[in-house]
Each structure stands twice: as C-alpha cells, then as structure tokens.
Amino acid sequence: MRAAALGSAAVVAAAVLAACARTAAPPAASANAPPPAIAYESHLAAGGMRPAGGTLSNPHTGDAAVARNGALLFTTMNCDGCHGTDGSGFVAPNLGAGRWRYGGADAEVFASIYYGRPKGMPAFGGALGSEGVWTLVTYLRSLPVPNDLPTESWEQP
C-alpha cells in the first residue's frame, strides 16, 4: 500500500517536472531573456534596478571576528527580543533556518535591517549605519543552516 502510494507520487512528480521543463525552457531561437522585473528568485529591489550607489556587497564576508561582533550587536540592539536567542526565532522569523521572508542574499538581508520591513521589522540603518548593518549581516550569514529541515516525522524509521 505504502509502496504503491510512493510509486504514484513519483509518477506525478515526474510529470510535473516534465511540464516545468516544457514551459520553463525558453525556445532556443529566442534571444529575449525574461526582463529583470520578473527575476523572482533574487528578489531584486526596485523592479530589478540595483539601489542607487552601486551593487551592495558585504565588505566582511566570512570574517569570523566581525561575525562575533555581530553576535554582540544582535543582543545589544535587542534583536534577540523578537528573533530569539542566536536568531533561532521567536515572534519574528528564525534567521538561521536558511529560509528568508525577504530574501537571504547579503544585499537583501542588509536592506531588511537597514530599511526595515512592513510586518514590524524596524529600520535600524539610522542607528547602526552601513558598517553596523554589515556586521549584523556577517553574523547572520555565519549561522549554520540545518540540512534536513523539510521533513519532520514522529514515526520510528
């Protein structure tokens, strides 16, 4: 019974994949890439336009010392009051689960902290400046992302 169900699920999945492949692949002859305004996967600001002043890139990517400072800043600025200890989530989203409401690229996380977000995330740019926000971004990007999130089972394997 269970095997049969799995089998039919696999068939459906294969069909869906095939359908996607048909619609998603642009005709080879067409040179027209989709316009940047519908580049959903990267959640670009302003309809595909980069923010004025050029591309945002984190000056501290991978810097462990900056990440440690960011952890302190995370507590000092009361971020943990909403996002939980170590960013593990509380009334505001988990910041270490690898799932992002407003995008998880450096520039997107920067924008969320600097400018705020409409469901209650305050704008910290004025208080922290770019350097402070990048320090937080560096910390958040240093959090280890779990690799087995999609499934939660209560049955014994």
Partner: protein, 593 residues
C-alpha cells in the same frame, strides 16, 4: 466626583431590578437568564456563568458540532464571541475583522463584516502573537481594540464605524490586545507592551465620541497614577508617590506594567478592577525596589479614573508573573460572614480571595505547583519568597522555578464561577523553568527583555489541568489532568456543566460537581479561546468556542519544525510532540444537542 456618584446610582437601580432586563443588566446577581453573552466575562462580575440549563450534566453526552466558520486567520484565537439578540459578533486576531452573524437564519449567514485598516507593523510590536481578546456590547454599539493601538466603536445593527480613536503608540512598543469594558458612558482600555518597557496605563474614553477622558498610569508619581492622597487607601499602607519611589534609578519610566487581560466592575462600590502585567526589563537589578504597581490589582472609579486602592501580588517581580488574569467578583461566606470578594488566579501560582472593598487578602493558597514563595503572609500581604529562587543578572541561571513564566494559569485563560456550586473553574499549567536574565539597554520601540527561560514539565508527568477551586478554603476540589498546558478559558452553566478546550484540540464538557467528562470533540486546531453559551432564536441552547492555537504557542504550530534545535522557536522545545496533534487555523465552532 458628582458624576461618579450619579453613575453609581443609575447602575444600582439597574441591579435592583428597577430597570428592564437587557444587555446592561447584571448577570451574576440577576436571576433571569436572557440567553445572551454581551460582554467578555458574561457579566460585570466576570463569572462566565450562564443560567442556561437545557444542556445539563445528564444530556451533555449528546453534544455535537452544529456549525463552523473559518476566520481565514492563522494566529491565536483568544477571546470569545458575543451574542446580542439574534446576532453573534466575532473579532478575529489581526487584521481584527468584526463579523456579525445572523443566528435567525439557517447557516448563520453574515449580516455584515467590518474590516478596519490595521497596520501590519503591529505584527512585529505585539510580543506574543497578533491576538485579540474580544469585543464589548453596550447600548447598540460594539466596541473593541485594534492591534495597532486603536479603539473602534461600530454600530451593532449596521456595522458602520461610529468612531476610531488612537489610544496607544506603537513607536514606544504599545499594542492593544485586551477587550474593553464599558461602564455607563466610559470605554475602559489598556495597552500591551510589558516586553517593550512601556509606561503602562489605563484609559477612559467617552462612549459617544471616542474622546480620551482620562489616563491613569500603572506606576509613576501619584499625579500620573490619578491617586488623590486623601482618598487613596491601599490595604497595606504605602507612602506618597510609591509608584515612583519603589523603583530605583527612575526605572518606572520604562517599567512596563501593561494591561492585556480582563476587567470587571462592581456597581455598588463603583469600582473597576484590573490587573497589571510584569515589570520591565526582566533583569530585576535594573529596577531595584517593589516596582509598584506592576503585577498588581488596581481599583479605579470608571468615570474619572481615580485610583481607590491597589494591591501587589508579586513585589519586585523576577519571574514575569503578570497579574493580568481576570478578577472575578463573587459573594462568599468567609468565617461565617457574607463577604463581597474578588477572586484571582495569578500567574505566580497562588489563588487569592480579596475583600473587594478594601483589597485586603482573605485567602491565598497555591492552585498549581509553586516553589518561588512558601506562602503569602496575610498580615503584610507579601509573599514569603524563597531566596534561592530570586533572579537577576548577578544570580546567573536560576534553575527549577515553578510555575514557569507562562503562569500557574495564563491570564489569557479566564476562570468561571458558578453560584450554584460555589466553585471556581480554571485551566492550569504545570510547568517549571530556568531563568537567566541579561542586562539590557532601552531602545525605544524594541524589546526590553533580556531573558532566556527554557521550560520543563512540572511534577507529576502532566503539563496542565482543569480544576474546580473552593475560594473560601483555598483548596482544589477536583482536577482533570491534561497532557499539555491548558490554555482555554472556562465556562460554567445552570445545567452544572463546565466547558473548556485543550491545546491539542479537544473541546470538552465536564460535570461541574465532579469533574467527570461528559463529552469531547476534536476541533480543527488547539483551543486558546474561551467558550460561551447562548440561546439562539430557535429557542435552543448552544455553546460556542474558537479553535486556533496561538498566543504564546503560536511558535510551535506554524512554519517551524518542532524537533530541530535550529528551528524550534522557544518556548516549544519541552513539548515537541504537540505539533503532531495540532496546527494553526482559526475557526468558530458551535455545539448543540
């Protein structure tokens, strides 16, 4: 002053039966049951007792769901519907839609719905889910609060907005989740924000215009608290400006003291009773002193806001023991004397029976496992605190404190009182906690907390219960144990049936005298709302309750994974398997025979 006396006279006339029975008639004392539910606690005494008896201990086994309606909202459905005449009113959590259902037609179609514009920023300022604890009906008007800090009045017949008043400031961490209380022409409201260091208050608005008439703070100098030194009389005397002097370093200015629970009213004494929440921040060492009047009950004049007396349940609160739970008014015989009492089940695990004219403690006894204090000293009114359970940044991680900060009962889960059994009915939590605070800086509009407090199951291997309580003797009469913390309010009826819901999604009816289970039904989501009962236009009695897990438990049943340390949102890790039994989903359920 004159106005206040006049108001009291009018209401007294109503209570003695000179006025016709109607929504303003007082349920607890009145013998005629009109079958409505016009205010959150059923009546001004907040007894959540209805005299309806068609559903009784003999036939309640036949209860079955007869109607449901999805609110389309996934956050915690605290609070309760109202039933006025042939209309049922339901307020949803944010975005705080008000529905009016026509109970006289098959399927209860909507008469109208009112959809206010509520800022979604409020979602990030509300500490503990986007809840709403309900509306109040008075004189053709439905009044309720919006999460983003507004009170609205809506015409009960047409659904048209009559007024909308900004009462709270989200910029300083204030949101509004409580249900208002209307007395005469005053709408009385308060703000949440104990986790944001607000300067807590209660306000009185004019029912006709929505104008703010008075604001009384819950701490601070006497003038801010609306204390007149010549008339203010605390049951355990204090000096002038105690609301400021009992806070070191002027910490009262960001001291919390929110009002997010339930209000009650005694028309004879002309006093409104309400509880205040925790002191902020959680680190006690940033606010030396008693921190009056947080974690307290306050008695005010509704017309003017004047503070008449106040009593503090938990001085220098170091455990997040809000006292925002209901203050239930009853007349009990204590030491052979008929006494007008106020009964309160506090987060701190003690149930208090107070003289509601003076605030003096008559009885105080634990109703759930308690170890932070040994007892309450009746002479001083103060708890005898176990020094090893005192918290603060210099104490480090203090282990094994009971109850946990969710409380011996959540203030969200109001009790019921039956004048037939003379018993109180309440949900309880059986949870303990470790408590580690940190020094925090006040940054306006951000959390002012600094706490890490994991929970554990309390003694006995169960995490909650539903109990019957004798408030004269201060003892438990019976207890129905539940697997999970019990988070719904209570209802008790003239049919001697008590009702409650469970966190894993059962709605239950039990015998009010014995606690024996009469019926249960698995609703669509965990229950954190409060059951009510009413007589519909078809002449039959029904029971209504919201399903929709949330509030403090919103964090365990949403888009999170309960068994992954990186994806568990506190405080869920002590009962990971709850997610096996319930998920989000707001729905109104109506049961009948």
């Amino acid at each position: 002053m004159r106005r206040s006396a006049c108001l009291a006279t009018l209401l007294c006339l109503g209570a003695t039966g000179a006025a016709p029975a109607g929504p303003q008639a007082l349920g607890a004392a009145s013998s005629a049951e009109d079958g409505q539910w016009t205010m959150p606690g059923k009546n001004y005494s907040a007894t959540r007792y209805s005299g309806l008896a068609q559903i009784n201990a003999r036939n309640a086994r036949g209860l079955r769901p007869v109607w449901t309606f999805s609110t389309g909202v996934l956050t915690g459905h605290e609070g309760q519907p109202l039933v006025v005449g042939d209309t049922m009113y339901v307020v949803t959590p944010w975005p705080n839609v008000l529905y009016a259902f026509d109970l006289s037609k098959e399927g209860y179609p909507l008469r109208w719905k009112y959809r206010p514009d509520v800022s979604q920023n409020a979602l990030g300022v509300a500490c503990c889910d986007a809840v709403n604890r309900g509306a109040f009906y008075s004189d053709g008007v439905v009044v309720y609060n919006l999460l983003d800090g507004h009170t609205v009045a809506v015409d009960a017949r047409s659904g048209r907005e009559l007024w909308k008043t900004a009462i709270a400031d989200m910029g300083s961490g204030e949101t509004v989740t409580m249900a208002p209380l209307v007395v005469g022409d005053r709408v009385i409201v308060g703000a949440s924000g104990g986790e944001f260091g607000i300067y807590g208050w209660l306000k009185g608005l004019d029912l006709k215009t929505g104008q703010v008439v008075w604001t009384g703070h819950n701490m601070g100098p006497d003038a801010d608290m609306l204390i007149h030194p010549e008339t203010f009389k605390a049951p355990y005397p204090v000096g002038p400006d105690e609301g400021a002097r009992s806070w070191g370093n002027d910490s009262w200015k960001t001291g919390g003291g929110p009002v997010w629970g339930w209000l009650s009213y005694d028309p004879q004494l002309d006093l409104v009773y309400y509880g205040t929440g925790n002191a902020a921040p959680y680190n006690t060492e940033q606010r030396p002193g008693d921190n009056k009047w947080t974690a307290s009950v306050l008695a005010r004049r509704p017309a003017t806001g004047e503070l008449v007396w106040a009593y503090q349940f938990t001085p220098h609160d170091g455990w997040d023991y809000d006292s925002t739970g209901a203050m239930v008014l009853a007349d009990l015989t204590i030491a052979g004397k008929p006494t007008h009492v106020l009964v309160h089940f506090d987060k701190n695990g003690f149930a208090y029976t107070l003289d509601r004219a003076t605030g003096k403690v008559l009885v105080a006894a634990p109703f759930a496992p308690v170890n932070w204090a040994k007892a309450v000293d009746l002479a001083s009114g103060r708890p005898l605190v176990d020094p090893t359970k005192e918290t603060g940044v210099s104490k480090g991680n203090v282990k094994g404190i009971c109850p946990c900060l969710e409380g011996g009962v959540s203030p969200n889960s109001p009790p019921a009182y039956s004048p037939r059994t003379h018993l109180f009915y309440t949900s309880t939590n059986n949870l303990c906690m470790d408590y580690e605070t940190g020094r925090v800086s006040y940054l306006r509009g951000t959390p002012f907390m600094g706490i890490n407090s994991p929970y554990t199951s309390g003694p006995g291997g169960y995490m909650g219960s539903f109990i019957a309580w004798d408030a004269v003797r201060g003892r438990k009469v019976w207890e129905d144990k539940e697997r999970y913390p019990n988070w719904s309010g209570a209802l008790v009826t003239g049919g001697d049936v008590a009702f409650y819901g469970t966190l894993d999604g059962y709605f239950k009816a039990v015998d009010a005298r014995s606690g024996a289970q009469l019926s249960k039904f698995k609703v669509g989501s965990g229950v954190v709302g409060n059951p009510i009962t009413f007589r519909a236009p078809d002449g039959r009695q029904y029971v209504a309750v919201y399903a929709g897990i949330g509030g403090d438990w919103s964090l365990i049943a949403g888009d999170t994974r309960s068994d992954d340390p990186r994806d568990v949102r506190l405080p869920a890790d002590f009962m990971k398997d709850i997610a096996r039994h319930t998920s989000q989903g707001g729905m109104i359920w109506v049961f009948g025979l």
